[in-house]
Subunit: 454 residues, 2 copies
């Protein structure tokens, strides 16, 4: 069977929260001003109450509100595909499956949390949301969710992406959002960056700082985060929960679960329901492989330390693998993977040996994207293509080993708004970026001095 | 229920052929040189044998080859959505459903026939396919299908669209196709046009002429047509066959079936399985509404006459509603609706009173596209947005009449490659085009003189 489909009734009724199942307690978030443990109330100017509760909840299962579930049914359950044509091309005994999130209205997994966040904000009387976006996938998802709930949305879009991807901006505007190229001169955080570098290409860290500052400055406004935080990953577990049911229908269980990691929400959302089986001992051998860009190698070259989620030091300080909140990655096309940190839960799991990480260059990634498009039809976003490169490596290893490994990967979004990147690749003008150690060292020198672990 | 889903096993096993059920026999195609009835063998240099047989078959049901059906399962069955949020916004008692074809790899209904045509060509030893494309939806579908079957594909893309939609070109190239802006200087048909007008924006008629000439000039090459012809519509009936099952699951039957018409394949593919019920008397009251652009108003202002499908008079002469094979429509964004003729079967049904037609301007169409995107999430292509305008008109009439009419429409493709058009609309710079009667009259003066009926 090429595609394993569920019915609307099979959209999960609960999200899975990994916090109670982690191999060690998550270290507390710190208040960005005092560097003392953060109190949930400290987050109130930024996030709605229900979301703050989810961020720290120790409940394993959290009910999905009926209104959110009804909206999920616009595009969920998402299909699970067997990539049997790719298997043939690779001549591998591996069985490759992908969970396709590209058929949602914004074209990625991002609305899984955008809709939930918009719902809770609306319920608590919030009128306006601010957010950051890199490639534009998260910004479009929040614009979409805002349009459904009648919330005003302001998106700070990393300038490099704003210029590379005008169609993403128009998409957000079509859903009624205001989109600003970040750094802007409308926030202090933006003005500070522009004073130092008027041509700054921006970064996700700067855009987060602007969105947070804007939210803090307006009573009726909250900020929405697209990745990394516990509540975001919680909402994304619908991906993995559905995939588990679908793998069961296919009569398979993954030997390895692969995904791309920017802030970690797409990958964790797919992986955690399977990770639960590894942590409980039910499936002690399932492996987890995270793919990231060599240009922003948080998991492979970062340090495990407390750091700010934004360039201006306004957001909660998180223990994570980071390349430094001041790090400005090269303008690779996988804008969604240009975040300097990663989800604290995912980093903790990596620290305990449950997650392997791989870093890739643009050209090897796009080579696999084009090969995939030519045999499986669907055109992956540059972000998802990183996962694909790891999948192909794994499938070729399976061939060498003569093992019928079962590979499941997250196809987080389509590449319809990334055609300029495909054009560059096909024309042979796509650049690879080696990150010099000095650039990394200088960004790491600016970490807040709280319990750094190399 | 928001979305009615079928399983992979529910992909139809047979296509529905309307020819034996038409209210009158279809008038024969004519040989373009002799204007005498065409013999099936005359089509052999253009089309594979199996397709020629389907073009003239009187069998009501034609089996879908297992290999084609397996590829359909990459994205089929496509979902049927209830547009209940749009219903609320319109405050209408109408129940609105849409059949969503935008989740296929090329993003439209076009691969339903592209895959079938590529399959038959491959089976008969063809090495290369040529085709025309307007907006690029058909060209991308054939490029996709060609990549699956290892066929070389050359696409003549209407120059206006080639320039408006570079991302569509890149999409086709990603699937391995060669894309040329038509008129080109590589064919006699193209050179003739360029001699008269070096800045010609092109037209579907010119692009068809180039593709046909190229195929005729190469032994190992055939031409593939994206619309209008009987075999194309035959392949598209999977849309309506699935929709019938899904409407039944929803406990509804449409009072009116609506779609946009360029060459007519998307609309006929959805409508004909329901039309069968009207023709048989089982559902005597179901209505059929076709939406077209005012800039290329074949059904509303054309004549019912024999005409060439291409500007150079190379293709089979068809009895259809036409604005003249030399007609060059204004460069509206709905490039897929810029064809000067329409499917002979659909025109015959209109002639016998079974199909109503409406023509719309760009701005009223995009107004509905944006409203739809803001409540139902999905972003319609400019072509599909024409259907949407007709849907809203119908839903508002239902409100006035206080009738709970059931409306089914074809959402033929997404608008991800049409963001420049959305941008123009949102910026207020989108143009409406009134077609002067003289322009129409002068194009109609060039019809071949075979049985013109005003």
């Amino acid at each position: 069977m090429k595609r394993i489909l569920l019915s609307s009734a099979d959209v999960p009724e609960r999200w899975y929260n990994i916090l109670p199942d982690l191999p060690a307690p998550l270290e507390p978030y710190l208040n960005p001003r005092t560097l003392e443990p953060l109190q949930p109330a400290d987050l109130a100017p930024l996030l709605p109450q229900a979301v703050i509760e989810q961020e720290v909840s120790s409940e394993r299962w959290i009910e999905i509100p009926e209104e959110v579930r009804a909206i999920y049914q616009m595009w969920r359950p998402s299909p699970l595909h067997r990539a049997d044509r790719l298997e043939k091309v690779l001549d591998t005994p591996a069985r490759i499956y992908f969970k396709y999130e590209g058929a949602s209205p914004p074209g990625s997994h991002k609305p899984n949390t955008a809709v939930a966040q918009a719902y809770y904000n609306k319920r608590e009387g919030v009128r306006r949301l601010t957010t950051e976006t890199g490639a534009g996938q998260w910004g479009s998802a929040l614009s979409f969710a805002g349009s459904l709930f009648g919330l005003e949305v302001t998106v700070y879009m990393v300038r490099a992406s704003y210029q590379q991807k005008p169609y993403r901006r128009i998409l957000m505007e079509t859903w009624g959002a205001s989109v600003l190229p970040s750094p802007t001169d409308t926030t202090q955080a933006g003005r500070d960056i522009l004073a130092r570098d008027p041509d700054s290409p921006g970064s996700l860290g700067i855009a987060v700082a602007e969105a947070v500052e804007d939210a803090l400055a307006h009573e009726d406004t909250r900020s929405a985060l697209g990745s990394a935080m516990n509540h975001v990953i919680l909402h994304q577990t619908v991906i993995g929960l559905e995939a588990k049911t679908q793998m069961e229908m296919a009569g398979d269980y993954p030997d390895v679960v692969i995904g791309c990691v920017g802030g970690g929400s797409n990958y964790s959302g797919l992986a955690y329901p399977f990770m639960a089986d590894r942590l409980s001992g039910a499936r002690p051998n399932v492996r987890f492989v995270a793919a990231e860009p060599a240009a922003c190698p948080t998991l492979t070259r970062g340090v495990y330390a407390y750091d700010f989620p934004d360039s201006a030091g306004l957001g909660p300080v998180l223990k994570m693998r980071t390349v430094g909140h001041g790090f400005i990655p090269s303008p690779i096309h996988a804008g969604g993977l240009r975040f300097h940190g990663d989800a604290p839960t995912l980093c903790l799991l990596q620290e305990h040996g449950f997650v392997e990480a791989r870093a890739f260059q643009q050209n090897e990634v796009f080579r696999e994207a084009v090969r995939f498009a030519r045999c499986e039809g669907f055109l992956p976003a540059p972000e998802s293509s990183h996962a694909l490169k790891a999948v192909v490596d794994e499938a070729l290893l399976a061939r060498e080993a003569g093992e019928a490994r079962v590979i499941l990967f997250g196809f987080s979004g389509h590449g319809h708004f990334d055609m300029a990147a495909y054009d560059s690749f096909l024309a042979g003008s796509l650049e690879d970026y080696e990150l010099p150690q000095e650039k990394l060292d200088s960004a790491l020198a600016e970490l807040p001095t709280v319990g750094v672990t190399a």
